[in-house]
Amino acid sequence: MAKAHVTSHEPDFWNVQTEHKGIWAWLLTKDHKRIGIMYLYAIVSFFFVGAIFGVLMRLELIAPGKTIMEPQTYNSLFTLHGIIMIFLFVIPAMPAVFGNFFLPIQIGAKDVFFPRLNLLSWYLYIIGGLLAITSLFLPGGPVDTGWTFYIPYSIRTTTNVIPALTAAFILGFSSILTGLNFITTIHRMRAPGMDWFRMPLFPWSLYATGWVQILATPIIGITLLLVMIERVFQVGIFDPSLGGDPVLYQHLFWTYSHPAVYIIILPAMGIISEIIPVFARKTIFGYKFIAYSSLAIAFFGSLVWGHHMFTAGMSTTAMFIFSFLTFLVSIPSAIKVFNWVATLYKGSIALEAPLLYALAFIIQFSIGGFTGLMIGALSIDIHLQDTSFIVAHFHYVMFGGAGFGFFAAMHYWFPKMFGRMYNKKTAIVAWAHVTIGFNLTYFPMFIMGYLGMPRRYYDYLPQFQPYHIASTIGSWILFAGLVMMIVNLIRGMRSGEKAGMDPWGGTTLEWTVDTPPPLENFETIPTVTTGPYDYSRYEIAAKEAQ
């Protein structure tokens, strides 16, 4: 892929000569930008595999009874859809792709602190991903436990649970190493003058994310390892027939898996905080509140896992405590939403694709957040637990939030990464399809879940069919939009108009380096003298115009 040269006097990172030739120049690279690009290709590929599984599930559910597949196939599909989308897409997506590519540049560094470890993380990701896909085809059949691997079914089923658990374990290790690398990078490699409160908000969110990755992921590592040991050696730790406690498994599983949703959403929030000021041409409102709220979310998010277990047989006291803590975690999230909206207020708004995705994020994330408060309340959760209301809730947060954050970042940083611009009109048409399709797919699930449609069911009563039809049609529009988006981006990569150094008018450091950046990012490490979002010149001009 030939890339554009704009003002560069040294070759950009795509074309630079390295000690290895051909494909090895990529597979053995220690350049954070190339590793980010390799993550991007891998993650988008896995995303489409997961998306196709999702579309097939929706097609099966368009009518009661058997439509296109057997129940066992359906069970495997929703399990693999969950494993792929969570462990291979949303958890790594933003730190691994955009964090790798932009974190060092945004803080004025030449690379991450441990470049070789960074490459190792990528290999672990690929090994985990391939193992998850391979488990589909091994004798025993694809795993059918749901992505939660609940005991006791996961130690009884004859399907390939161990390969799937191993895959998740390896992916967790990859995630830990990325988090560790980023925290060290942020502590040790900020450019002169880049103190903590001159750091852009995306690195701030990655910092908070890194801590969750380091402190929560090992819990799922040991838990999944114990399930494997339980299957092979019958140690009794989880097996209820030997004295183990399945509820303890759920505690440990969610001790990680709830904080994991903050591993997912925090970087997306960071991205939104980057995009909003650029396209509103306004200094971000409440910078410090946004920065601190990332840490607060990381902290409170680690205290609320019990709300996944209100119907699992916990003590009543624990239910009260976890419900209360769940309400607390909504406060820092709300602070962010208020600050984004306040930044938009009286801004000079440019409705480009990145901002449109960001706006959809804010609205959809808010819907996901509010419904989260509903099911965080004990009495309502008893009614809604294990219905498709839950499915709708977490898709609004995980897809309508984090997924849209990923798309926003792709459209925002695309010109810097590839040196070219995509077709902006097509991008907006694709955005409209994705947004309408998304809401049409998942909103009916709120309603039918409220009316009693259970989640993960293969069959259903005829009264739910209108909602299922709407949802399935939505999935087609959504998928068409996704294809349109990716085709547009691939075309842009190949033959788009060449992009300049700062096509959006951004003020953070990545917009001061060549497009695409050279191998070492900066010829000389910059000295930073101002905060990240300095739009005072626009604001003065706007005041004068009044």
Partner: protein, 207 residues
Amino acid sequence: MSGQWETQSVHLHRDDAGSRMGMWLFLFTELILFGGLFIVYAVYRYAHQAEFHLAAQELHSTIGFINTIILLTSSMTMAMSITALQKGNKALSMALVSATLILAGAFLVNKFFEWAGKFANGIYPGSPELMNRPQGEVLYFGLYFVMTGLHALHVVIGMALLAVNLSFIKRNVYTGENTVKLETAGLYWHLVDLIWIFLFPLFYLLH
């Protein structure tokens, strides 16, 4: 795991404190990994107190005690080997790393005989003997094998790290003040010791 890696052409500043920071962060993940097991232990101990007491009496606290002494001593020789290297005494540093490796080997040999003894008495995961016992004892021995087994695995990994470092010292890879790789390997080794400091009383003494 950690260390001062240099990219092909991007010459990063050497930053030893940063390398150690990365290793510490990694050790926290190890700590939480074992921490998950300690949570499981705590929950089951709370639920089956009498049976945990009873089962613990079957462990040889003498072997546990000897192994504790061995690991504490190996931690000291590890720490001293870094001082030796920093003072430029290569031969002493190598001798101390070798001593650490020998002590680690002795730990594993003891562990092997301890486990073999349990197996000979018919106590191993899923054994008919164990299955006839109360559930609390099944859980106790399940945790015993998992936790000491995972710890032994870390001993083996630590030994591999130390062996690599021994050859680095021998081949004069560490020149001048550049001892951070040995320091980070040492940090890992002390973590293995640290975990054992908690495993020892929880399994061998509380009966």
